[in-house]
């Protein structure tokens, strides 16, 4: 616990230091505001514009979460089908792979043409980017069962249903949560891509507008809110994981499924 606090202290210190250096550099070298606004200016903007920022944030949040939940439900269903049917595996895997390989930024305009400029197109993009890691990790988790574990339950004449519920499903959970953590960060990015390409709400849209108006402080403020959104969503999953599968929680695994894409 003491170690944890120390770690937290170090992280806070490095953040504060970074901000101070940034602030000082901007003043010392008198960098113009449209190039790089000082942290104090960004924070002021953040406070002044908190209303609209949160409104746009709520939109992005909604798109991300809906897309992510869609990815979760369909991802788990596809994973189960892939694990239990060779035919479905051969039918689904190429499609899923193609869907994953096509750059989502490139098909975003197409989706907009198909379903319009509303929130649905963003939800779809968020879904498209998030279901792949969920499928892959869930399939892996259900397949990577120790052979002896299967021998053990088979020696007790376990039914297929029992093998599924008592072995494969729980065995997949740590992998599944790893996938969820990757998926949620990707879903945020997916929603933003959608908003970049077309739309009139959301933090991605706000960033674009601020960009056109050369309102760099607002862009930074939007980026901060966006990062906070991603962080909170990720944190919720980490808490859920700790609560639902306290028996897992390997440190190595935590590090493997960090941020980024």
């Amino acid at each position: 616990m003491v170690e944890r606090f120390k770690e937290l202290g170090t992280i806070t210190f490095s953040l504060v230091l970074f901000t101070v250096i940034w602030e000082l550099s901007v003043w010392v070298f008198s960098v113009s505001e449209f190039l790089l606004p000082a942290p104090s200016v960004v924070i002021t903007t953040l406070v002044l514009k908190i209303g609209p920022l949160l409104q746009h944030c709520l939109v992005t949040f909604r798109e991300t979460v809906y897309g992510f939940l869609m990815g979760l439900v369909l991802g788990v269903i596809s994973a189960v089908m892939i694990v239990y049917s060779r035919l479905l595996q051969n039918l689904l895997y190429p499609l899923i792979l193609v869907a994953q390989i096509v750059p989502k930024v490139a098909i975003a305009p197409l989706l907009l043409v198909w379903v319009g400029y509303g929130e649905i197109s963003k939800v779809l993009i968020a879904f498209l980017v998030s279901w792949f890691p969920i499928i892959v990790t869930t399939v892996q988790g259900m397949r990577m069962v120790q052979p002896e574990m299967l021998d053990l339950v088979k020696s007790l004449q376990a039914s297929d249903w029992q093998i599924f519920t008592k072995v494969r499903l729980p065995n997949a959970l740590p992998h599944f949560f790893g996938g969820l953590k990757i998926a949620i960060t990707l879903a945020v990015i997916g929603a933003i891509i959608g908003e970049f390409v077309g739309g009139n709400t959301g933090l991605g849209y706000l960033v674009m507008v601020a960009n056109y108006e050369v309102n760099t402080p607002l862009m930074f403020a939007a980026l901060i809110v966006l990062s906070a959104l991603g962080l909170v969503l990720y944190g919720v999953l980490v808490l859920l994981e700790m609560w639902l599968i306290p028996w897992s929680l390997g440190e190595e695994e935590q590090q493997m499924t960090g941020f980024g894409m």
């Binding site: 002896e148 021998d151 007790l156 029992q162 008592k166």
Partner: protein, 257 residues
């Protein structure tokens, strides 16, 4: 109880694994029997078919030829009258110790209320009562294997199959576990088949030691171990014990003994 007192009867058992170039004969004409309440050890080099024999007896693997009877009935598939302990503990990480031990009860659809006291009794037998609510990752290797032994015994099987159960443990823990297994066996008197590649371990625990040689897997000898019971750690140093180990070693083809 069978009429002839034989828990396992294996006659001319052959197992061939199909393979692209040449089929692999894992087991050729193995014949032996295990009497009720007897403790049999099966020793041999890695890959000589020891685990194949065990899996066929457990009904987890089909035989190619021959006859296998457990408690007088031909083996056609897995039977709940068998308890298995593997080399690794094979514990379910997501279950606590007690829930791991209760797993066979759940799968067999037996009454949880009725068997819970028995599960607790098994934990007491293996000295794990106070760890019942821990998760497997919180236990040491030896303790994990004790959980797995408790689990193998909980549904009161008539036959205990142990596939190199202590192979992954350090020497000291292994010695302790040997003592523990002997105690459990003498209390519960389950017919036991222990697969191991430690000759001293095989001799220490068994009434009879079966020796296997590889490629093709054959049972070359069955040696009676006349050492008195209960066996003690000191006995491992006795001339009689050393003689038994030497005899088994010779059969297996170890020159230096």
């Amino acid at each position: 109880m069978t009429e002839n007192g034989k828990a396992i009867e294996v006659r001319n058992l052959t197992k061939v694994y199909p393979s692209k170039d040449a089929p692999i004969v894992a087991l050729e004409d193995a014949s032996f029997e295990v009497y009720e309440q007897e403790f049999i050890s099966l020793v041999g080099h890695s890959g000589c078919g020891k685990t194949t024999i065990m899996k066929i007896i457990a009904g987890l693997l089909d035989k190619t030829r021959g006859e296998v009877l457990v408690n007088g009935a031909p083996v056609t598939g897995p039977k709940s009258s068998t308890g298995i302990v593997f080399q690794t503990p094979v514990l379910f990480q997501w279950r606590t110790v007690i829930d791991n031990v209760m797993l066979p009860i759940e799968i067999l659809g037996l009454s949880k209320e009725q068997y819970y006291p028995r599960a607790m009794e098994m934990l007491e037998l293996t000295g794990l009562t106070e760890f019942k609510d821990k998760f497997p990752r919180e236990l040491s290797g030896g303790m994990q294997q004790r959980v797995s032994i408790s689990r193998a015994l909980v549904h009161d099987p008539s036959l205990l199959l142990l596939d190199e159960p202590f192979g992954a443990l350090d020497a000291m823990t292994r010695g302790e576990m040997n003592m523990e297994l002997q105690r459990i066996w003498s209390e519960k008197k389950k017919t036991s088949l222990l697969i191991t590649h430690s000759i001293p371990e095989a001799v220490f625990l068994a009434d009879r030691v079966m020796v296997m040689t590889p490629r093709p897997g054959r049972i070359t000898d069955i040696i009676d171990i006349g050492l008195p019971r209960p066996r003690t750690p000191e006995m491992r140093l006795s001339v009689e014990f050393t003689e038994c180990v030497r005899e088994v070693g010779k059969t297996i083809g170890l020159q230096y003994l």
